[in-house]
């Protein structure tokens, strides 16, 4: 039995290897691909940022008032684009309510707000950098894309205003718990998708983010989603952003020349 299993696995491995090879060679009409080109099309994940990752692994810096200094240009974390399920703990599934699962399955790529250059909301990330500007009373995220935008996180001890109008990024208030920045956000609209697969939410959405600069080059974060309108229980996702150097936030006004939407005809992503 063990022998049979081992042989099956070796066979499966060979098939997987062949599939990989054929995917590489079937394209390009015999031309070798230059390094870094994804044979399935579209390039390589976040390739444009790879060489910009900071090499230093020294300790995280601190501000004059002794708090961890989160300032810097950060890269996107994997798993916060196409399918946020990938950012859950291994083996965990998104606790979607039945209507939310049905809606996710019915949504089409052409209807993704991002395809129409609308904001990503939280926690979805684009393949572009984002920048943290930190002061004792206010932390600002400058977001290069999918839309060129910002978030303000107030640390002045004030609470969320009452009667918030629903918005794409909500209202964020921050506190320090030890070396962790805890960001509490409410006041969301229900228009953005959590990811490319279209995982939905409602205006009841409440997000708690926890940011911790592990060392000079890495920012760890957790995002807890609490939306009793669309999910059966709160759930938490995990990510890590690399510090980027030798680049800056660059302009990205997506609506400038967006020709794509009418050509997005497929059902899969």
């Amino acid at each position: 039995m063990r022998k049979y299993l081992a042989r099956s696995i070796v066979t499966a491995l060979s098939v997987a290897a062949l599939l990989t090879l054929s995917a590489t060679s079937a394209i390009g009409q015999g031309q070798p691909e230059p390094p870094g080109v994804n044979p399935a099309g579209g390039g390589v994940p976040m390739r444009s940022l790879e060489r910009l990752k900071a090499k230093s692994s020294g300790p995280a810096p601190r501000t004059a008032n002794g708090k961890p200094d989160l300032s810097g240009l950060w890269g996107p974390a994997p798993n916060f684009g196409r399918d946020i399920s990938a950012a859950l703990k291994a083996g965990e599934k998104l606790p979607l309510q039945p209507w939310a699962l049905k809606l996710t399955q019915e949504r089409l790529p052409k209807d993704d707000p991002e395809a129409s250059c609308l904001p990503a909301g939280i926690p979805r990330m684009s393949p572009f950098p984002w920048k943290i500007i930190q002061t004792p009373q206010l932390i600002v995220f400058l977001i290069e894309g999918n839309v060129h935008t910002y978030r303000q996180i107030f640390l002045d001890g004030s609470g969320h205003p009452k009667d918030l109008d629903p918005t794409w990024y909500g209202d964020s208030r921050g506190t320090w718990q030890g070396d962790t920045l805890v960001v509490d956000t409410v006041g969301f609209n229900d228009k953005f998708w959590f990811d490319g697969l279209g995982h939905p939410h409602t205006e009841k959405l409440h997000i708690i983010e926890r940011y911790r600069r592990l060392d000079f080059g890495h920012l760890d974060f957790e995002v807890t989603i609490d939306d009793p309108g669309a999910y059966t229980r709160p759930f938490t996702m995990y990510g890590q952003s690399p510090l980027l150097q030798n680049t800056e936030i660059m302009e990205y006004f997506c609506v400038e020349n967006n020709q794509d939407v009418s050509h997005i005809i497929g059902k899969t992503r």
Binding site: I27, P39, G41, G42, M250, E256, Q259, H263, T268
Partner: protein, 131 residues
């Protein structure tokens, strides 16, 4: 045994990682990588714009008929970080472009590598997978 299983899982991981996507729209819903081909032609226009830089290429078929293709690159911010500058492609340049054509049959395609008139080969795409 465990090592073999690990290799198998690793192999499958490679396949999954090969699934592409773009910054703001789903690659596979718009382009068909299985029909990838190389276009040879002359640049007629360059748009250094967001969300994608684009260039247009006149491609002549065997009968002499000329078709103008609309070719999508990554966005200018990503292209700059990949080493492009906006004057790398110029009108009248002769180029060869490895493309994945649009699924809807229009003369649009996602450019993946561009071989420039001087022989340089430029990576044109950007695919977060994160997406």
């Amino acid at each position: 045994m465990k090592a073999k299983l690990g290799l198998l899982v690793g192999g499958m991981g490679l396949l999954v990682a090969a699934l592409p996507a773009l910054a703001h729209h789903a690659f596979v819903a718009q382009y068909d990588a299985s029909k990838s081909t190389t276009l040879h032609g002359v640049v007629t226009k360059v748009e250094w714009t967001n969300p994608h830089a684009r260039f247009y290429v006149d491609v002549k078929d065997k009968s002499g008929k000329v078709t103008n293709w609309n070719l999508e690159l990554a966005s200018p911010n990503a292209l700059r970080r990949l080493g492009w500058t906006r004057d790398i492609l110029k009108v009248s340049d002769q180029v060869s472009v490895l493309v994945a054509p649009a699924k809807d049959g229009t003369k649009m395609a996602n450019a993946r590598t561009v071989t420039l008139a001087d022989g340089r080969k430029m990576v044109a795409g950007l695919a977060p997978d994160q997406q």
